[in-house]
C-alpha cells in the first residue's frame, strides 16, 4: 500500500508555469489524471516518477521524496508517453533486461509473467522495432510491471491501442488495482477515464481544478444548471406541464428535441413522471445531457 503525496507543488520552465501549487494524494486504486493538452499532466507524472524536480513543494512516495531517489524505482513502475523503445531488442529481451536491472530474483520467469499479463506472448520474440503502436505500448507496460511494483504510473497508456487491446488493458489495470496497488494514469480521452477510474484529478492550465469522484464533482457544480433531454410521445404537452414546475428553470423545444434545465437535480427527477402523466404522454427517454465526464470537464476547463 503506497501513497503518492504532492504538497504545494509548482514547476515552471523558464517563465512558463507548467504546474501551479498543486496538492493531492493518490492512494491505492485507480486514479485518472485528466486535462487538455498542455495542462501539465506529463509534468506532474514526471515529477511523481522522479524525473523532474519540483521548483516548489514536495513530491513524496510515502515519506521519501521521489526526486533523486533511484531506490524508489523498486516500487514504482513507469510507462512513459513517448513511443521510443529499444527497437533492436525483442520484447522478451527488453522485459528480461529490465527485470535484471531491477535485480528480480528470477528474471526470465518474471519477464514471461509480465509478457503474458499484457497478452503479448505470441509476438514476444520479434523485435520491438517492427511492432504496431499498440503492441509497443503493451511492451512498455510489460517492462513497467516486471518487478511487481506497488505504484504504477502510466502516461497516456491507451494511445494507439485498438478497442480490444484497450479493454484488455483496462481489465488488467482494474485487476491490479483490486490487488491494492496504486495506479495513476493520464488521458485526455474522457471515455477512458470515465470507464476506468474511481477517482479523477482534473488539471487545467497547471492547476488542480477538481479531485474526486466525477459524479460527485458534477453535483458540486451548483452554479450551473443540470440539463436533460426528454423524448416522449407528446413533447409539446409535456413541455407545458413541466413549465409549471417551479424548480425547472427553462424548457426548450427546438427542432423536435425537448430540453429542460434545472438547478435541483432531485426535483426534476421527481417532477418528470407526474408531468408526463398529466400530459398523457409516455416517457421514452430521459437523458442528462451533461452528466458525462465530458461536460464536467468542459465546465471546469471553461471556468
Amino acid at each position: 500500500m503506497s501513497t503518492l503525496r504532492l504538497e504545494a507543488v509548482s514547476r515552471w520552465y523558464g517563465n512558463v508555469v507548467a504546474v501551479n501549487d498543486v496538492t493531492f494524494d493518490v492512494g491505492p486504486g485507480i486514479t485518472g489524471l485528466l486535462g487538455p493538452n498542455g495542462a501539465g499532466k506529463t509534468t506532474l507524472l514526471h515529477m511523481m516518477a522522479g524525473f523532474l524536480a519540483p521548483n516548489a513543494g514536495t513530491v513524496r512516495l510515502d515519506e521519501t521524496p521521489t526526486w533523486r531517489h533511484p531506490d524508489l524505482y523498486r516500487s514504482i513502475g513507469f510507462v512513459p508517453e513517448r513511443e521510443a523503445v529499444y527497437g533492436f531488442l525483442t520484447c522478451r529481451q527488453f522485459v528480461h533486461a529490465t527485470a535484471r536491472l531491477h535485480d528480480v530474483a528470477d528474471p526470465a520467469a518474471a519477464a514471461s509473467r509480465a509478457i503474458a499479463m499484457v497478452d503479448l506472448a505470441d509476438a514476444a520474440d520479434r523485435a520491438i522495432g517492427g511492432y504496431s503502436k499498440g503492441m509497443r505500448q503493451r511492451a512498455k507496460v510489460a517492462a513497467a510491471l516486471v518487478h511487481d511494483p506497488t505504484v504504477l504510473i502510466l502516461d497516456e497508456p491507451f494511445n494507439g491501442m485498438d478497442p480490444r487491446q484497450r479493454l484488455h488493458m483496462m481489465d488488467l489495470l482494474r485487476r491490479m488495482a483490486a490487488e491494492g496497488r496504486t495506479i495513476l494514469f493520464s488521458s485526455h480521452i474522457l471515455e477512458e477515464v470515465e470507464r476506468l477510474s474511481d477517482r479523477v484529478l482534473v488539471v487545467v492550465a497547471g492547476r488542480l481544478a477538481a479531485a474526486g469522484d466525477f459524479r460527485r464533482i458534477r453535483r458540486l457544480m451548483t452554479d450551473r444548471p443540470h440539463s436533460f433531454t426528454i423524448r416522449s410521445t407528446d413533447d409539446r404537452a409535456l413541455a407545458r406541464e413541466l413549465l409549471v414546475t417551479p424548480e425547472i428553470e427553462a424548457v426548450e423545444l427546438h427542432d423536435g428535441v425537448l430540453t429542460v434545465r434545472t438547478g435541483d437535480y432531485g426535483a426534476l427527477t421527481r417532477a418528470v413522471a407526474p408531468a408526463a402523466q398529466r400530459a398523457r404522454a409516455s416517457l421514452l427517454e430521459l437523458r442528462p445531457t451533461d452528466e458525462s465526464l465530458e461536460s464536467v470537464f468542459s465546465y471546469l476547463v471553461r471556468r
Partner: protein, 295 residues
C-alpha cells in the same frame, strides 16, 4: 443567443472564412519560395543567433584575406602580393567544408526527418523541382564564399589603382576566370553536400559525414603527395577540393603552390572529367533518393 448544437440536425455556421479565388503563382512561385526559404536557412536568417555563428563566421573569415590584400595594396603598393585570384579559393579551402557541413544538412535533413515532404509535393512542384531548388539555393549561398571575396579583391585592386580605367583594363581579363571558378566550386560543393546530407537521418550525422569526407580526403592527399611517384599522381583525387583546384587550373590557368595538383603528373583535363563525375554522382544520388522517398 445562438442555438446549442443538437444531435437532431447538423448545421455549418458561416463564420466568415473567405476562400481565395484569385490567380495562383503556380510551379514557378513554389520553386522561388523554396529557394528563398532555403537561402534564409543557409545563412541562419530568421533563426537563433547561435545558428548564425558558423555561416557568418565562415563568410567573414573568407572575405578577410581580400580585405587584408586590399589594405596592403593601398598601403604598400604592388610590392607585396598577399593573395591572388587563382589561389584564393585554395587558401580559404578549409572554410568551404565547414560552411557546407554546417549548412547543407539544414536545407534537407529535417524535411525528411519530420516527414514534411508530402506538403511540398502536394503543391504544383515536382520532386525534381524540389531538389533543383535546394541545389540552386545552396549553390547561391556557397557563392558568398567562392565568388564574393574574389570579386571584392577584384574591385579593390581596380579601385586602389592610380589609374582606375587602366587598372580595369589590366584586371578585366581575370573576370571570366573568377566567375567561372566561383560558380564551379559553388555548384559542385553544394551538390556533394546535399547528396551526403539527404542520406543522413540527423543533421549532426550529416555534418559529420560531410566533414569526414573533406578531412580524410585532405589528410590522405597531403600524405600521398609527399610520398612522390605514382601515389603523388593520384593524391589530388582523394579530396574534392583538390579536384576542383585541378579543374580550375585546367580551365583558367595559374597554380596554387601548396596544392597536391602541383606535384601530380596527371594531365589537367582529367581534373575536369573528375569534377563532372563528382557532379554527376551527387546529382544521381539526389535524384534516386528523392525519387524513391515515400515521405
Amino acid at each position: 443567443m445562438t442555438a446549442p448544437p443538437d444531435a437532431a440536425s447538423g448545421t455549418i455556421y458561416d463564420i466568415g472564412y473567405r476562400h481565395y479565388t484569385g490567380p495562383r503563382l503556380g510551379r514557378r512561385g513554389a520553386i522561388t519560395a523554396v529557394i528563398g526559404s532555403a537561402l534564409r536557412a543557409a545563412f541562419g536568417l530568421g533563426r537563433s543567433g547561435r545558428s548564425k555563428i558558423i555561416p557568418w563566421g565562415a563568410v567573414i573569415l573568407a572575405v578577410l584575406p581580400a580585405f587584408v590584400a586590399i589594405a596592403v595594396r593601398v598601403l604598400a603598393g604592388e610590392i607585396l602580393e598577399v593573395t591572388t585570384y587563382e589561389t584564393y579559393l585554395w587558401d580559404i579551402g578549409s572554410l568551404l567544408p565547414i560552411f557546407l557541413a554546417a549548412q547543407a544538412p539544414e536545407l534537407v535533413v529535417n524535411d525528411i526527418r519530420h516527414h514534411v515532404l508530402p506538403l511540398y509535393f502536394s503543391r504544383p512542384m515536382s520532386r525534381l523541382d524540389y531538389v533543383g531548388a535546394k541545389l540552386a539555393a545552396l549553390s547561391l549561398a556557397m557563392l558568398a564564399l567562392t565568388l564574393a571575396p574574389v570579386l571584392l579583391l577584384f574591385a579593390g585592386k581596380v579601385l586602389a589603382a592610380q589609374d582606375v580605367v587602366g587598372a580595369l583594363g589590366d584586371e578585366i581579363g581575370s573576370l571570366p576566370g573568377i566567375v567561372g571558378n566561383g560558380v564551379m566550386h559553388a555548384v559542385v560543393l553544394a551538390a556533394i553536400g546535399l547528396a551526403i546530407s539527404c542520406l543522413a537521418g540527423r543533421r549532426a550525422y550529416a555534418a559529420g559525414a560531410v566533414l569526414a569526407l573533406f578531412l580524410i580526403g585532405g589528410v590522405i592527399g597531403a600524405i600521398l603527395s609527399e610520398v612522390g611517384g605514382t601515389l603523388a599522381d593520384i593524391a589530388p583525387f582523394t579530396n574534392p577540393l583538390t579536384i576542383l583546384d585541378g579543374a580550375r587550373e585546367w580551365l583558367f590557368g595559374g597554380s596554387a603552390p601548396e596544392s597536391p595538383v602541383g606535384v601530380s603528373n596527371v594531365p589537367l583535363p582529367i581534373y575536369g572529367l573528375a569534377t563532372l563525375l563528382m557532379l554527376a554522382l551527387s546529382s544521381a544520388i539526389l535524384f534516386v533518393r528523392y525519387r524513391r522517398i515515400t515521405a
